[in-house]
């Protein structure tokens, strides 16, 4: 399962990647990008099975990334988990409208992210 972690903060990318490594995802299946623009380039050249995406990033925001990726035929159903500090209800609704599968507000305990990820990484979807 190829997973793309998108966050402009390196520490957050590392935290997410460490959790995924704990799941047994091989390092070679983990991809990362510091903004939506670079993430789109990776998603175009590599078939990604799950996206973890921040909202506020330079170049291309997480929200615009989600809209762009959903417009690509091959990623219409691919799980996208937004992990962001944006906690306002209208932000959550906007993200869902854009096509995110799940929404997590930072700061989060590793356990919560693991729980959300388990549904996709271990079970292949929401149960």
């Amino acid at each position: 399962m190829k997973i793309l972690v998108i966050d402009d903060a390196m520490v957050m990318r590392n935290i997410h990647k460490n959790i995924l490594l704990d799941f047994g995802i091989p390092d070679t299946d983990l991809f990362e990008a510091p903004d939506g623009k670079q993430a789109l380039q990776i998603a175009t050249s590599t078939s990604i099975d799950l996206f973890l995406v921040d909202w506020n990033m330079p170049e291309l925001s997480g929200l615009d990334f989600v809209k762009a990726i959903r417009a690509m035929g091959c990623y219409k159903e691919t799980p996208i988990i937004m992990v962001t500090s944006e906690a306002a209800r209208y932000n959550v609704l906007e993200a869902i409208e854009a096509g995110v599968t799940n929404y997590i507000v930072k700061p989060i305990k590793a356990g919560l992210l693991k729980e959300k990820l388990e549904k996709h990484v271990l079970w292949g979807g929401e149960k």
Binding site: V11, N56, P58, E86, V105, K106, K109
Partner: protein
């Protein structure tokens, strides 16, 4: 500025530093900061826009910034590295983003965070908008949360 506009930032800060990072800390009484350029050495800044203008600035001494970043990353930093600066930006991003949920009437959008190091750089506060400072004492040293919000 009324407490109802400051409390969301206080709550978000306590949630981040005490509840999430496990840093023993306590806030002191907020006050109107007459000299908001005179902050600590490491400052994380984020702009607020929408139906208001404003800014949120977290300010730390060097050692406090390094200590808190070490907690966040669960690794030991000893210098003010790019990773530590990256984390300070993430901290102010979390405080501002979390506070939004209790300030819905302003439909706030937040900028990308910036981090300044040293006393030579000037913070661009919104003109004619007061700055309220919430001082914190913590096991890793004092820090402050500074909020300017046009209401």
């Amino acid at each position: 500025m009324k407490a109802q506009y400051i409390n969301p930032f206080l709550t978000a800060s306590v949630n981040l530093f005490r509840n999430y990072l496990g840093v023993e800390c306590s806030s002191k009484a907020p006050y109107l900061n007459q000299d908001p350029q005179n902050l600590d050495e490491v400052t994380g800044i984020i702009g607020l826009a929408g139906e208001t203008v404003g800014a949120v600035v977290l300010s730390f001494g060097r050692e406090t910034a390094i200590g808190i970043a070490s907690k966040m990353a669960e690794k030991k930093y000893t210098t003010l590295s790019n990773e530590v600066i990256d984390i300070v930006g993430e901290l102010v991003n979390i405080v501002a983003g979390n506070a939004k949920k209790d300030l819905l009437e302003f439909r706030i959008s937040i900028s990308l965070p910036g981090v300044l190091v040293g006393g030579g750089s000037k913070i661009k506060w919104p003109a004619s908008v007061p700055v309220i400072t919430i001082p914190f004492d913590s096991e890793l040293g004092p820090f402050s949360v500074n909020v300017s919000l046009k209401v």
